[in-house]
């Protein structure tokens, strides 16, 4: 009897990435007070090393797929795919943070520990096979991110960003949790596999209760992925937070939230799919339209990308509306490409922002093409990928999503989505025009050279975006195989 409570070696192996990151994160907190003020970046190096080891452990775990801890978690292709995304996002965030934190005089060890803890939470979310695990992972991730959003304590914009993120995030959690409670009541279990079985096998599934639960979870997750009509917090929070943290929030927690969105709605709620499909259809269209048209009027680059992230959440919701294997696979592919291109774009902003983030308007980027041609060229790659130009990851992401929508007979949604992409091209191209065609601004005239760490935060995602754009099939095949297993 007692034996069943002691985890086996194989189970520990499947959970090893999270164990490693939790230990490294705790180690950083203990090292922080004994590290001199000049050598805090060392702690960042330790964090990156921990993330790389965790990435290795992810592949070891993937070689031994299966459930662990009484099927509280499950390691499958889907989990591995998203684990790789969130760990990569963590590494890129730390690379783009060194210079930023030094410039603001806030290079402290707890920053790196908080990044690791947040990544652990996201990793738990994507491997969770149980509603309570999903809730705990979500909260580990969110609570660490609330602190990160307000990391510069004396900055008013940071405070405002943190309080808004905290209040709306907790509000959303309440809805998600109520949904979980109703699922528990309707089926008597919170294990995703058992819930699915209970719904499929019962002669009269409690459709009303499940529909209400699906609606409540949709509200909770809609907030987390900033899909309309729950997007109103996004611009303020993204604009006010420190730029590397904004990059992190727009990629990591969002990808993990979409992962649980996919896992829950594709497995548990599949049988009541006809009821929630119109809801997500409307949300996808509203997100794309609101995001793109509001982004047209933005002068602040961070705010522009915040609205663009709402629009991109809309594209992923189109893939969810398709309710098919290829829909799931295209959503996974898109989230990988989006994480890379957004991390890269925000890294350039973190470089140009200057002390106190005084120069983050699009006009401050004028003349970047003449002053720092390499930086400008890399930003161009990210902008073209965000538009969806061929040879970039963004192109194939959009292509597969709209293909999935057409195969599921969502003709109107696909047409309106494509029109939206055309609108979006305008504001991304405007950045390029300002950067190459206009006289250098006061900021770009005196731009300091880019440090090595920040170069890594630019070259790695640029290489990733181009890889996804030129050889998409390898990643897409992996995503399709995982999506096929997910529905079973």
């Amino acid at each position: 009897m007692l034996d069943s409570f002691i985890p086996s070696w194989a189970e520990l192996l499947r959970f090893m990435p999270e164990i490693i990151l939790s230990l490294v994160g705790s180690l950083l907190v203990m090292l922080e007070p004994v590290t001199g003020p000049k050598s805090k970046s060392m702690l960042g190096h330790v964090a990156i090393a921990g993330l790389i080891v965790a990435l290795g452990a992810t592949f070891v775990a993937h070689a031994n797929p299966g459930a662990a801890f009484s099927s509280m978690i499950v390691v499958d292709g889907f989990a591995t795919f998203f684990r790789v995304i969130v760990f990569t996002v963590g590494i890129l965030t730390i690379f783009s943070s060194y210079q930023y934190l030094d410039r603001e005089g806030s290079n402290r060890g707890e920053y790196y520990a908080l990044i690791l803890f947040s990544v652990v939470g996201q990793s738990v979310m994507v491997v969770a096979n149980e509603l309570i695990m999903i809730f705990i992972g979500l909260e580990i991730s969110s609570i660490a991110t609330y602190v990160l959003a307000g990391f510069l304590r004396d900055d008013k914009r940071n405070n405002e960003s943190a309080i808004k993120y905290f209040l709306l995030g907790s509000f959303a959690t309440g809805f998600l949790l109520y949904g979980i409670a109703l699922i528990y009541g309707a089926t008597g279990t919170t294990d995703l596999g058992e819930v699915r079985q209970a719904v499929l096998q019962s002669a009269e599934p409690p459709v009303l209760l499940l529909s209400v639960a699906a609606g409540l979870m949709f509200i909770g997750l809609g907030f987390k992925v900033s899909g309309a009509p729950f997007q109103m917090w996004t611009p303020d929070v993204y604009q006010g937070a420190p730029t590397p943290v904004t990059a992190f929030m727009s990629a990591g927690p969002k990808a993990a939230a979409f992962a649980i969105f996919l896992r829950i709605f594709v497995t548990v709620f599949e049988s009541v799919g006809d009821r929630w499909e119109p809801l997500i259809w409307a949300s996808a269209l509203a997100s794309m339209t609101i995001g793109n048209f509001a982004a047209l009027q933005q002068k602040n680059f961070k705010r522009l990308l915040a609205y663009s992230s709402i629009a991109h959440a809309g594209y992923v919701l189109v893939a969810l509306t398709a309710r098919s294997e290829i829909g799931t696979a295209s959503a996974m592919f898109y989230l990988a490409a989006y994480a890379l291109m957004n991390m890269g774009a925000f890294a350039v902003i973190a470089h140009v922002a200057g002390k106190g983030e005084t120069t983050v308007d699009v006009s401050d980027f004028a003349g970047l093409g003449a002053k720092q041609p390499v930086t400008a060229a890399l930003l161009t790659i990210f902008m073209l990928s965000l538009i969806g130009v061929p040879l970039t990851g963004g192109f194939f992401g959009k292509f597969y999503i709209f293909k999935a929508a057409l195969e599921s007979k969502l003709l109107w949604l696909a047409i309106l989505g494509l029109l939206n992409s055309a609108v979006a091209a305008y504001y991304y191209l405007r950045v390029l025009v300002v950067m190459y065609m206009e006289e250098p601004s006061a900021r770009t005239e005196n731009l300091e050279p880019m440090p090595m760490s920040l170069q890594a935060a630019l070259w790695l995602p640029a290489a990733g975006v181009l890889f996804l754009g030129i050889f998409p099939s390898a990643v897409l095949e992996f995503a399709s195989a995982s999506a096929r297993l997910l529905g079973q």
Partner: protein, 102 residues
């Protein structure tokens, strides 16, 4: 608890949850907004306990412990954030914490 049907508990928790949502949407003091969120979480706890009792399972009781632990962690972080806001601005009115552009 004998004699009180399950639906009464569910209706009560739905009312409490709605009061929490209403408080979140209509109150302007940040501390009150935060308290409304706690009310929502406790309404969910009541739902869990009621279902757990009705199903004769212990799971639901355990979930409420997790929810309480998370709510405590959230309160610690949330109150710290609220404190920094008060220190920097001298106000806790949600309408005044609005310097970012719309």
């Amino acid at each position: 608890m004998n004699g009180v049907p399950l639906s009464w508990y569910l209706v009560l928790s739905a009312i409490l949850f709605s009061l929490g949502v209403a408080g979140f949407l209509f109150r302007r003091n940040i501390i009150t907004i935060f308290m409304s969120i706690e009310l929502m979480l406790n309404a969910v706890n009541l739902t869990f306990i009621a279902f757990s009792y009705d199903l004769r399972q212990v799971n639901g009781h355990i979930f409420t412990f997790f929810v309480m632990v998370v709510a405590a962690a959230e309160a610690a972080v949330g109150l710290a954030i609220i404190l920094t806001v008060y220190k920097n601005r001298g106000t806790l009115n949600a309408d005044d914490v609005n310097s970012l552009r719309f």
